[in-house]
């Protein structure tokens, strides 16, 4: 399978502080890849660096095309949707308006209304709340909205930053179930950053492990689930 994303020797900086020290990895089109790591290992930074939200160097290819020289808006237009940490909700806009904003940059044709119906199919609760101001949604609903907003781009690659953060386990399970459906039905590749390692390992088919800004381990999730070090450090048994 062709690679949807190839990252090589990626370095990223917050001001003068280097946060990534040459991260390299590749992920297959249509797959779900997860990046595990402790707090401060550079998971969020990796996603931000891919989208040019911080200063970075190294090489990044998306579907064979080099994107390290492009700005955030252009990268998004190529079909990379980023669901940021904290969900990035437009709190004063309605649910429907949030989704329309998500469709702003897409190049794919087809009607926005049709896509809206499609995401409402994944998350029926959002259909009920479509005229409601997004700031009044619960945390779980806002996460669903954030994923839906990203889908409105008709992305080829979905970057998800801690979708489980601060949500009740039941809701998290529901969201992850739908992420899998989205991956299978729409063929959207997913790069997932997650604190909850057991959830992430269940969803993903490929895993990378980050430690203090470096990739230290990679493999299929089936293999890594049985790895003793991973189990002790990240799964806790």
């Amino acid at each position: 399978m062709p690679a949807i994303l190839e990252v090589e020797a990626l370095e990223a900086f917050y001001g003068r502080t280097k946060a990534l020290h040459g991260v390299s990895f590749a992920m297959d089109e249509g797959g779900i890849t997860t990046v595990l790591g402790a707090n401060g290992a550079g998971k969020t930074t990796t996603l931000r660096a891919i989208c040019a939200m911080i200063r970075r160097s190294g090489s990044i290819r998306f579907a064979g095309q080099r994107i390290e020289g492009r700005g955030t808006e252009d990268i998004v237009k190529l079909g990379i949707a980023h669901v940021p940490e904290g969900r990035g909700t437009f709190v004063d806009l309605t649910v429907e308006e949030n989704l329309r904003v998500g469709a702003w940059a897409r190049r794919a044709g087809g009607s926005v209304a049709e896509d809206m119906t499609r995401v409402f199919g994944y998350f029926p609760i959002l259909a009920e709340r479509r005229r409601q101001v997004a700031g009044t949604l619960s945390g779980g609903e806002q996460q669903m909205l954030a994923v839906s907003r990203a889908l409105m781009l008709r992305p080829r690659l979905l970057l998800l930053d801690e979708p489980s953060l601060g949500l009740a386990p039941l809701i998290v399970r529901e969201i992850f179930r739908i992420l899998r459906a989205i991956n299978r039905e729409a063929g959207v590749s997913i790069l997932l950053v997650e604190q909850n390692a057991s959830l992430a390992l269940d969803l993903a088919d490929h895993v990378f492990l980050l430690e203090t800004g470096r990739m230290v381990l990679s493999g299929t999730s089936d293999v890594l689930k049985r790895d003793d070090a991973i189990r002790r450090s990240y799964l806790g048994y």
């Binding site: 939200m53 998004v76 990035g88 004063d92 806009l93 308006e97």
Partner: protein, 293 residues
């Protein structure tokens, strides 16, 4: 009673002018947290351009449209060229830049067109409109109509067009907007353009009443500040309502409180600013923003 109604209507007319300029201030403030002190002078400058076009023999409404178009482009250009380089600077720096712009526009206008007052035509008939026993100035009525049409257009633009939505999104959450592929910098520039258009409308509508001179918008800007403060700097609807309230109050107080008359009217605006800031700092329609420091 007739006098009362007349004063209310003429208050609505001037209120419309304050509302337009206040709306311009609020649009920029919402998107960038910047109070544009040069808003009034930008409007004055646009009005002078209109005066030159009219003098060159252009028809009024063609001039009107051309002026708004020029104001829009100039507003965008000012944001891109002057404001953008200091965008990330401390707020005080930006305030000083807009104050500098105020002084420059004022002097350049004086240099080109002199400080002598110039009569400016109204597009509306001279004959007053009579309804029952009450006489309304046609310019007052026209002014209100123009203001309301502009507001309706702006509302429709923000509410129903993708570009309007993108501008609201950019003002509200720049980071998420960029992740949606919206060019936030350009959206801010468009906001400056639209604000300049509203300022220009205010200038064109008030010039026939005050006659045109480089300091024409000074007082108006203070009323607009009062309107924006009263309505809440965070609320476009508040700015409009505030504009009308300030206009009516100003007129009624000037008419019925004998010691104020026309000389002390501006004081009313300043008093309103102070009272609002003391009693309800967020304004009538504003929300109190809690920030973690």
């Amino acid at each position: 009673m007739d006098v009362f109604l007349q004063q209310v209507l003429s208050g609505l007319a001037t209120g419309g002018i304050y509302a337009s300029l206040a709306l311009a201030l609020v649009m920029i403030y919402q998107a960038t947290d910047v109070v544009n002190f040069a808003q009034g002078e930008m409007a004055m400058f646009a009005t002078y351009l209109a005066w030159s076009m009219l003098n060159a023999g252009m028809s009024y409404w063609l001039t009107f449209v051309a002026t708004l178009a020029i104001a829009f482009v100039a507003g965008v250009a000012i944001q891109r060229i002057i404001i953008r380089p200091v965008e990330t600077a401390p707020i005080l720096t930006i305030v000083i830049v807009t104050l500098g712009l105020l002084v420059i526009l004022n002097s350049v206008a004086g240099w080109i067109w002199t400080y002598l007052q110039k009569p400016f035509p109204s597009p509306f008939p001279r004959e007053p409109i009579r309804i029952g026993g009450i006489v309304f100035g046609a310019h007052d009525v026209g002014e209100i109509a123009v203001t309301l049409v502009m507001l309706a257009l702006l509302f429709a633009f923000f509410r129903f067009t993708p570009l309007g939505l993108a501008m609201r999104a950019a003002a509200q959450n720049p980071v998420s907007s960029r992740l949606a592929g919206i060019r936030v910098g350009w959206m801010l520039a468009l906001g400056w353009g639209l604000a300049a258009v509203f300022g220009a409308v205010a200038g064109l509508m008030v010039a026939p009443v005050l006659t045109l001179d480089p300091n024409m918008m000074g007082g108006i800007q203070i009323y607009a500040f009062a309107a924006a403060t009263l309505g809440g700097f965070g609320s476009p609807v508040g700015a409009v309502v505030g504009g009308f309230i300030v206009g009516i109050t100003e007129n009624l107080v000037g008419t019925y409180v004998s010691f104020i008359g026309t000389e002390l009217k501006l004081t009313v605006a300043l008093a309103m600013i102070i009272v609002v800031l003391l009693v309800r700092p967020a304004g009538l329609f504003g929300r109190t923003v809690v920030r973690r420091v």
